[in-house]
Each structure stands twice: as structure tokens, then as C-alpha cells.
Amino acid sequence: MDSKEILKLEYTALNIRRNILRLIRAGGSGHLGGALSSVEIVTALYFDLMNIDPGKPKWPKRDRFVLSAGHKCLVLYAALAERGFFDVSVLDTYGSLDSPVPGHPNMHKLPGVETNTGALGHGLSIAGGMALGLRMDKFQSRVFVVMGDGELAEGSNWEAASAASMHKLDNILVFVDRNQLQISGRTVDVMSYEPLSDRWRSFGWSVRIIDGHDFEAIIGNARQIPFEKGKPSVIIADTIKSKGLTFAERKVNYHYWKASQEEMEHAKRDLDAIEKSLKEKTNMIAGNV
């Protein structure tokens, strides 16, 4: 990827972070940390990797996105709006009665949402069924899944993982958003999943570990699926919880954020600073050309 393409994605990621703040401003609170840690992954999916058409959200040959960790829905709504699935003003309904953007996603309320998730440990089985069905239809479509690392304690994930490798579903790519934190503390202290790579490998998956905020790493690796023919692929993406908001990064109490006016202003300044650095980068690239 050239630096211009990456810069463009970084601007998109900034817009998505701003959309996340817009949602929280409307609703007053929301699951912040895990939404922000997976912004680059979701941006890469919706603006580079996935074969989708916002004008035809039910197109049968589309790639599928399953947000297994449904509480990260703010990043999904933010990305869908940015990608043009619906008007961005829909985000301002967050928290209001009958809003199409509830606290966990609902496929019947919003175009582009593929599954109703929220209860953890459901997404991978549903994704596996999609992958089986798409293969039966001889479509080239892939199924992309984002899971949280705390979510991996749910046993149902490992049922799903066994079946995906047993049925050789090499049209699935899972991103584990390893931001290392969950409500009660560090994930490895709450219920350790280590050794995580070995665990996935022992379930028959092909595993890679990347920096989950590095577009080149996300896209470069995701474009290579299946990593091994006949095996499902998983990327363990090391991320920073609440990435982008300096006061909240790596802090467990921003898993769910009730936004004060002061913090909201701080958040705005943080995103403005990101914009400034992206502008400097733009100028640098222009100067180099």
C-alpha cells in the first residue's frame, strides 16, 4: 500500500472516531473502549477489504461482517454511516426511543447490520453458518468477524471454532481485538486465554499476530486469506482500549463511558490533534512527491 492510501484510511478512521463521539453525545453514554480499539480493523474492512455495496445491502454475493462483540456497535454504526449505508444524522438518535442504532445491533432496524449480537459468544457460530452457506452457493464471498478478547472465555466460541476447522471454512477471517481489558480488569487476570495463538492453532486455525492499529498490517495480512488452504484464519490484533482519547487509553473504567461535558471537550481536542498530525503528514507526503 502506498502512503497516500494509508493516509486516506487514517482520515476515514478519524471520521469514524468522530462519529463514535457523535453517538455518545446523542445518547450520553456508551461502550467506548472496545469501539475505539477496533476502529482501524473496521475501517480497513469497510473501506478496503470487503466487497460490499451500500446501495444493495442484501446483495447475495457480498462479503459478510459479523460483530460478535456486539457491545462494540458504536464503531459499526459509525463505519456504516461513513460508508453511506444510511444518513449520518441517524447517529443522533442514539439512546432515543425506537432508535435504529440501539445499544447492541439489530439487523431488522438498520441496513448493513448482518446479525443481532450482544450476548457474547454467538457471533462465530453464526459466521460459520454463513461461510458454509456461501460455500454451498459457490460464491467467493468471505465472512469477517470481530471478537473481543474478554469474549473468548465463552465456551460457545470454541464449539464454533472446532466446527469451522472441521468443515474447512477457509472463507472466514476472525479478528480478535486484543485490547487486554474487560470490565473487571486485565483479561489475562480475569480469565486467562493464554497461550492464545496456540489455543487457536490447536483448534485447527491458521494464526497471525499484528498491531491492530496499523493499516498496512491489517490489510496486508487480511488480503492473504486463507493463510493456509482449507483452514479458517484468525488475526490476533493487539490494540489499545479507547485508542485516540488520551485520557481514556488503556483504562478499564472507559469500557462503558458516561460522558461528562469536560471529558467530551477533552475528547474533541484529542481528535483535533489527530487531525492536525494527519494534515502535517499530508503536507509531508505532498512535499516528498
Partner: protein, 312 residues
């Protein structure tokens, strides 16, 4: 005497017929197809049978995902393991997502008799009927099992079908009129309405005969679809007889009798006697003896009805 047929074999034959007609029908197994009359399905329909091993929660999710691509997954296994165990998957991945998946609980109610309470399913109707949009079907003979299979495959939306295990009497002619959500009036009568469902429908049929022989006029109804319930049929029966007796191989809590009471108590209150299993785990033992233990044999049903009618 009635001819007897194997409900699981009947079910499997119907699924195979449906799969011949509709290429979207696929079968999912949790090490459970061979026990569900579907042993031959994998060879008859290569690529349309998926084995998962013993992981019922995951199978419900896989079925949901398959349904998003237009397939019609049929997943049959021992009843408690497709209802109580994966309840949240049923509720979220099938009900909430409104997926066109057909879940089949076989060897249901007390028919896994001596295997005990882990293998009985006398709560499945209670819990699954709380899920909005799920059709709950409990046919009472082999003819209606077969018709129920075709009806649920043709119906768009999540379904739960419940069948037993031992050979069961054929109660209906092949041309009986069967539609989901419509009860069948087996016999008209005016003193009392007797409503049966599922595996004990045949006991209810015999009980009705015994009552007729002792001079009591019985309106006998088969409610094979618990949800949506045939409210018009039930309300007219309530109005015209004033007394309802329900018979089910299920907890009294939350079953057919409860569903009927939910309607009658609000729209046309009549006295209802619910014959079923009380608030305790059922015991283990030979099937017919278990039914006797819980008052579900025809002579016992008759006695209960007679006492109920004497009670002013």
C-alpha cells in the same frame, strides 16, 4: 385397534421428501441424525448434511448463519438439548433474528422414560413459546407429524417441532386437513371440551371414548400447534361447553393448558382442568407406567374429567 408407527422414522421420511422437493433444505446434526430417522440423508443428499458432534449451542448458531444465505436448516436432536440447553441461542440467533430454521426435539416429553429427568423435556413448550415469532408444533400421530414437517418447511420463520420416541398410534386418515395454527376437532360434543396434544393425544382419544360410553358428550380437539394458538376454536369451545380439560405430557406450568388459560381467562373465563405434570421432576421407569404415575392413562383422564364435571 390403531396401527402403530415409529415417529422418528416418519419424521425422517418426511424430511427426505421435503428435501427432494426443495434444494434449500439442509440437515444439521449434533451426533443426532441417525437417531432422528435421518441416517440415510447424508448419502441421499451429499453436501447437504453437516455433522457437528455434540455441540447443540453452536449448531443453532450455524443454522442461523446458514439461513441468512437462504438455506432451510433442519436440526433434530434429543429435545432438552435443542431447547433448554441452547435457549439463549434459540432466543437470539433464531427468534430475535427471525431465521428460517427448523428445530426438532425428538424423544420428547417423557418418552426417554427410564433415562430420567436430564433426558425428559416437559418444559420445552413453556420456554420456547416465550420466544416471539417461533411456531411451536406438537403433533399427536404419525400422519400429522408428516404433515407438520411439510408445513414447517413451507412456513417462513423459526419453528420448534416436538416428537416422541415409541411407536405411536395412527389416529388420522391421510387426507386429514392440517394447517399450522388450526386445531382439529376430532369429535363434536357439548358437556365438556377435551383438548389433547402431542404424545398423549392418543390417550385423550381413548379417554373421550370411555367418557362417551358413560354418557358424557365430549368435544375432542387436537391442538397440534401450541403457538400460534387457535384462539377462535378454543373460545368457541369455551362458550359452547363451559368446561375445558387439557391433557399434555408436559409441566402444567407454561404448557398447553396455560396457553389456553391465558386466552380464556381474559376473553371468556370458564373452569379449566389441566392434566399434566406438577411442579416436580418426573421419575424414571417404563413409559406406560410413568404415564400412569402422572394420571395420563385414558381411564385416569376419564376419572379426572368425571370428577371435574361433578365439581360445581
Amino acid at each position: 385397534m390403531f396401527e402403530l408407527k415409529d415417529p422418528r422414522k416418519t419424521f425422517g421420511e418426511a424430511v427426505i421428501e421435503a428435501a427432494e422437493k426443495n434444494p434449500n433444505v439442509v440437515v444439521l446434526s449434533a451426533d443426532s441424525s441417525s437417531g432422528s430417522g435421518l441416517k440415510d440423508f447424508p448419502t441421499l443428499f451429499p453436501g447437504r448434511h453437516f455433522e457437528f458432534g455434540i455441540m447443540e449451542q453452536g449448531v443453532i448458531g450455524y443454522a442461523s448463519g446458514l439461513a441468512t444465505t437462504g438455506k432451510i436448516p433442519v436440526f433434530a436432536a434429543i429435545a432438552p438439548f435443542v431447547t433448554a440447553r441452547p435457549f439463549e441461542m434459540f432466543r437470539n440467533d433464531l427468534g430475535y433474528m427471525n431465521q428460517n430454521v427448523k428445530v426438532v426435539g425428538r424423544c420428547a416429553s417423557l418418552t426417554y422414560d427410564q433415562l430420567g429427568s436430564t433426558h425428559h423435556s416437559i418444559d420445552d413448550i413453556a420456554i420456547i413459546r416465550t420466544i416471539p415469532g417461533v411456531t411451536v408444533i406438537n403433533p399427536g400421530d404419525p400422519v400429522t407429524i408428516k404433515k407438520a414437517v411439510h408445513a414447517m418447511i413451507n412456513h417462513m420463520g423459526p419453528c420448534y417441532l416436538k416428537i416422541g420416541s415409541p411407536h405411536m398410534p395412527v389416529l388420522y386418515e391421510e387426507d386429514v386437513d392440517f394447517s399450522l395454527g388450526k386445531g382439529i376437532v376430532i369429535k363434536e360434543g357439548h358437556d365438556v371440551v377435551l383438548i389433547g396434544t402431542g404424545t398423549v393425544l392418543s390417550k385423550t382419544v381413548v379417554a373421550a371414548r370411555l367418557l362417551e360410553e358413560s354418557g358424557i358428550s365430549v368435544r375432542l380437539i387436537d391442538i397440534h400447534t401450541i403457538k400460534p394458538l387457535d384462539r377462535d376454536l378454543i373460545l368457541s369451545a369455551a362458550r359452547e361447553t363451559g368446561r375445558i380439560v387439557t391433557v399434555e405430557e408436559h409441566f402444567i406450568t407454561g404448557g398447553l393448558g396455560s396457553a389456553i388459560a391465558e386466552i380464556c381467562s381474559q376473553e371468556y373465563p370458564v373452569k379449566i382442568k389441566m392434566i399434566g405434570i406438577g411442579d416436580h421432576y418426573a421419575s424414571n421407569g417404563p413409559y406406560e407406567e410413568l404415564l400412569r404415575k402422572y394420571g395420563l392413562q385414558p381411564d385416569q383422564i376419564k376419572e379426572t374429567v368425571v370428577k371435574f364435571l361433578q365439581d360445581k
